[in-house]
Symmetry: C2
Subunit: 220 residues, 2 copies
Amino acid sequence: MSTQALQLGAVLYPGFEMLDYFGPLELFSVVGSSQIEIHTVAEQSGPVGAAIGSEGAIGPKVIADYSFADAPAFDMLLVPGGSGTLTELENPAMLDFLQSQSKTAQWVTSVCTGSALLAKAGLLDGHRATSNKQVFAIATMQSDKVEWVEAARWVEDGKFFTSSGVSAGMDMSLAIIEKLFGSETAEMAASYTEYTWHRDANSDPFAAELNVLAKQLGMV
Amino acid sequence: MSTQALQLGAVLYPGFEMLDYFGPLELFSVVGSSQIEIHTVAEQSGPVGAAIGSEGAIGPKVIADYSFADAPAFDMLLVPGGSGTLTELENPAMLDFLQSQSKTAQWVTSVCTGSALLAKAGLLDGHRATSNKQVFAIATMQSDKVEWVEAARWVEDGKFFTSSGVSAGMDMSLAIIEKLFGSETAEMAASYTEYTWHRDANSDPFAAELNVLAKQLGMV
């Protein structure tokens, strides 16, 4: 392990999902800034509004410290999902940023529909990955060269960690903390935040439930 | 139920805990802005930095839309905890704001050490309430006229909802959503966010664990 803190670039875009972003950042923050330094980054520095549900409305605004253009090379990327993903899939600046950062990053992580952005950028081709099952097609339609996993709380493959929807990002983050800093640190982070850690990456209680919902709605 | 959306004032201060704040806001946001409108408020409007663990370092910055002075009367208050609580306990502007808003608010809610601020403001006297068990004394030393509950995921008493540490705020928020909008809406919010809802307010898996930890460290 490096004596320097791991530099985490947490990507913001208009309509990001609040818990996709702040669940992982909470857990990474608990590890301590001597181990992980958190940086916020967006296409432009300054305020970026969160999604409000699936309505496309904009909620609380978080400040991006870096723009894509002036960001350093990060050791780890965090890409959240949210209703704004659909716009970002057509944003070359976002896709270019993910491609260029991923060349040198040790770890590239996503929550929910964040994996659709990684897939659209071509980064997941040849890899196993997952996404939010409720809107799984948003991810899977970005690339047929990805081995999309239909039931997983999160998937680890090489440098890539991709999680299912929203809260699943917290379980994935604890798995990353365990991998990088050991079980005791991950258990401390879960305990500190009074979070009941779902440790089994393959157990996905919401996949079945959401498939039933989708069928009822005639979506599949 | 009013035809107008419930106006939620979510209080920020330097060193607030990220998940205390954004866990509840995520769940409230899923209900939809036609039911709940989220507003950010701090002593001064503009950027407010989150806590990084317990170090007193400052992390991502969130924008307060309102200052205490120009905020409207909210229907519901959300008061997060975090390492910045200790400073706010000595901040008359914070205590005055909580007192004046609580006079008219229908619901006053806190996560983690947020209940210490409510207690210091005298709002919980004669009420049952809880807080983060790891640092329980920060809350209990603010008032001996509060019936402090040592093992509870959250406590509801009149207009007050107070929760245990960090993630417990999400379980409390789902209970509030259930109370205001019904079980189906709360279950939808949990499912949408793939969150395993701990529905039993009296079940506090972390209280015992944290007491053991505190004893090991000679804290109690």
